[in-house]
Amino acid sequence: MTIRFKDPLPPTVIGIALLLGWEAAVRVFEIPHYVLPGPILIGKTLWQHAPLLFGSLWITLEITLVALIAAALGGAALAFVMSRARWLERSLLPYAIVAQVTPIVAIAPLIIIWVDSAFAALVLCAWIVAFFPVLANTMTGLKSADPNLQDLFRLSGASRWQTQSWLETPTALPYFFAGLRISGGLALIGAVVAEFVAGTGGSATGLAFRILEAGYRLQIPKLFAALFLLSLTGILIYAALSLLSSWALRRWHGTTE
């Protein structure tokens, strides 16, 4: 289900009011900026450190997007394989669930040790977090074809392949996209968590490390600036996936959602 802001006025008003209240509180109570910086200072800091922060954002975004694409392809492919036969589902699904329920912070250090390339290790961590919603939703979708339509395909002498590609896959498509929208947020979370664990310094580091670094150095405005960029990224990913979904499902309009 897509969340649509039909009337953008109420959330905008609330947002502005909150920012004003925040800035006022910081000034009135003279809260030191290393405890809670005001939004104006955060904006200034973001501007000052823009090259550094946007460079880091790009790295985090790259990890997130590669992991998300892999989650979409891998989750859907796994769902197809498992839907081919009950025994495949019974043998593979438990391991997909194990990967899903094991906290990523606990296995990230191992993955970082085992995988040579830091980029590949981070992508793998983000993928493990992100693929399950696509897998679970697509599997549900593949099984949701109208039983009467399945009978109709049988009566018409359809092959397994025809039923899968002309009935089950189109039926599963809205489910797949619902899963993908969840995976988008999870891929970002996975990338950030993995970066926290990896914690490598140097020039090619993502936003999560900038947050850690700013925390250690008590550069709280910079921490907030990085945090702001992360939230914005998450929102943009969700919005982009929602657009992609409604574009891809335009023929389903009026039958789903």
Binding site: D146, N148, L149, D151, L152, F153, R154, L155, S156, G157, A158, Q162, W166, L167, P170, R251, W252, H253, G254, T255
Partner: protein, 253 residues
């Protein structure tokens, strides 16, 4: 007025017990006359849909068998209309009717005439590009009938096709079905729980008892005409009354 007709198939002592122990059908034998409309009439859950599925090959009898008078139809030669329109929601009217051809591997060009004839038969000519959600319930059902008829099946099985529609639409589709039946020569087996619908449409009615379904009676229907006017005649009322009595007998038996 109905001349004796040879049968297309015979249902021979068919019983069906589901794996969970429910007995749906008990020793049903019935001839389905060639080129006629036969209705299976009975209360909900009496196994008449199960009988239809067994005839189509979607389900198998626990005992008894279907005997075809000529060669048994090949895959795809039986048309089936479900209670719901059962259309692909993402495909337009044309593509939905084309579906059985597509499965058989018939190209668009080759199937074109058959699909368009079927569209004309149900009078949906200007709606070929519409998708199901843009159509009314009655129109969706007409698409479903067109899809079943497009491949010119020798046998058309209809499982309470108009049960979910309002009465006005239902009357109109009953007339449409009779008109279509005049145009194409096929055998129809029609499942319904409506006495009026069964009497109006059928040459023959098989009355089936509540679960487990047993054949209570076979009744030939001979009306002087089949049009809207006959619905309000004493002749029609009498035929309905007699059929209702048969149905009631099964309930107390």
């Amino acid at each position: 007025m109905t001349p004796p007709s040879k049968s297309l198939l015979s249902i021979n002592a068919i019983s069906r017990t589901f794996p969970n122990g429910t007995q749906a059908l008990d020793n049903v034998s019935l001839d389905i006359p060639h080129g006629r409309i036969t209705s299976l009439l009975g209360p909900s859950g009496c196994g008449k849909s199960t009988l239809l599925r067994i005839i189509s090959g979607l389900d198998e009898a626990s005992a008894g068998h279907i005997e075809w008078q000529e060669d048994a139809p090949n895959t795809g030669e039986i048309g089936f209309v479900f209670q719901d329109a059962t259309l692909l929601p993402w495909a337009n009217v044309w593509d939905n009717i084309y579906l059985p051809f597509r499965i058989k591997g018939t190209s668009h060009e080759v199937a074109k005439t058959a699909v368009e004839d079927a569209v004309s038969l149900v009078a949906l000519n200007s709606f070929e590009q519409h998708r199901p959600h843009q159509l009314s319930g009655g129109m969706r059902m007409r698409v479903s009938i067109a899809r079943a008829l497009a491949t010119s099946p020798s046998l058309l099985l209809m499982d309470e096709p108009f049960g979910a529609l309002d009465e006005m639409t239902r009357f109109r589709l009953n007339d449409d079905l009779l008109r279509i039946k005049e145009t194409i020569n096929c055998t129809i087996v029609f499942v319904t729980h409506s006495v009026f619908e069964a009497v109006y449409l059928s040459d023959k009615i098989a009355v089936i008892s509540p679960r487990p379904g047993r054949l209570i009676a076979e009744k030939s229907i001979e009306l002087t005409s089949r049009d809207t006017a006959i619905r309000s005649t004493a002749e029609f009322a009498e035929a309905c009354g007699k059929t209702s009595l048969l149905l009631a007998e099964g309930d107390t038996a």
